[in-house]
Symmetry: C2
Subunit: 223 residues, 2 copies
């Protein structure tokens, strides 16, 4: 039977400087020299897919040994997506707090709006990025994944800012507070407080062990 190359591409998202941002790799060699692409690489023969994703997260993205949510996104495999040869790519979605990534100049956090707006992308990486962003937006509704964008300890307002930036819509602080603090096992209070956001001191929380958020937090949709 035919054998093909299998690669893994990473859509690594974070919230920084008021923008949903993705980790991009600037290509200096053909094909697509000068375009941005997603960090990725080929899998090894004796390597599981999640292991390959973790390895590339360290090697290519510079995010080794960091607590990052990683999940399989989708697999892309139409025949001419790579001009050199047939490559089937298993994309992974990573959600990270705002961390310094690789020290290489080639690897940069960039606002998603900027990436999809104008810059030319290599291969089908614009589509993969958009699929990853849509998956992240959807999962904030019915899971507790928003906390994956926050540091280990965070306030309710910081969590709310994640929702607002990822969805691009303002949320009522009062109702949001009630919703997330009332949800079972979403947030665990540490007892400590902080005034880093200004104003009255806010409770600090860490992530609870809930994965689902029921009932979900529905975003407003365009009618």
């Amino acid at each position: 039977m035919p054998r093909v190359a299998v690669s893994t591409d990473l859509v690594v998202l974070t919230v920084r400087e008021q923008c949903l941002s993705a980790l991009m790799w600037r290509r200096d060699l053909p094909p697509y020299a000068g375009c941005w692409s997603l960090p990725g690489g080929f899998i090894q023969l004796d390597e599981d897919l999640p292991a390959a994703a973790s390895r590339l997260m360290a090697e290519r993205a510079g995010l080794a040994d960091v607590r990052i949510h990683l999940e399989q996104l989708q697999t892309y495999g139409y025949p001419d997506r790579d001009p050199r040869q047939r490559v089937v790519s298993v994309a992974y979605l990573g959600l990270a707090p705002d961390l310094p990534a690789s020290t290489r100049a080639q690897v940069l956090w960039t606002a998603v709006d900027e990436l999809v707006g104008s810059d030319p992308a290599a291969f089908d990486h614009r589509r993969i990025l958009l699929d990853g962003v849509e998956r992240a937006r959807a999962k904030l509704e019915y899971t507790s994944l928003a906390a994956a964008f926050c540091p280990a300890e965070f306030t309710v307002a910081e969590l709310r800012r994640v929702y607002e930036i990822v969805w691009g819509t303002p949320l009522d602080p009062r109702n949001f507070h009630r919703k997330v603090t009332g949800a079972d096992r979403f947030l665990v209070p540490t007892g400590r407080t902080t005034t880093r956001d200004g104003g009255r001191p806010a409770q600090l929380y860490i992530r609870g062990d809930a994965e689902q958020l029921r009932p979900p937090m529905l975003r407003q949709r365009p009618c």
Copy 2:
């Protein structure tokens, strides 16, 4: 870079005889002779992944040219999942009305509970099947996909039976009726009626063009 074989396995589900059933393939050759497996096969070098899934749906499952919902499920690729060689498998999930499948004796609709209960499965196909079933169960909550299990024209009660069988929980017929007929573009009345379920004649509907169901129909969860 290393090249590996890429296959597609199909989780094709339907509702028949009061059971959620899957299309299974009984293996008569090693490896795993005598076990059930999912219908599948290797992709061709010039073939897109959805095209491979459609082709195998026709060749292996006997469901050619039928209106079947097909979506990518997940990709499975740990190194020793096939004892012969490294195979990365892109699984697809198909939701079909109760149709006669392949005429081959090797291919059978079988109740999911029966399959996962006791019969030994080939490769990691039990896991793939369970992932497909869970995806289907989850998607009934927030999409209009339940209609993919129904014939072209169906009644509200038939749609409700799909939910009840897939979820394994009874639903209130009155509230269900209000919910689905009130949802925007989920159902389109044909004007015709039927008495095939007994009792008072029921409206026949066809699928509307809505994909999302908002607000979702939440199933009761174990606390």
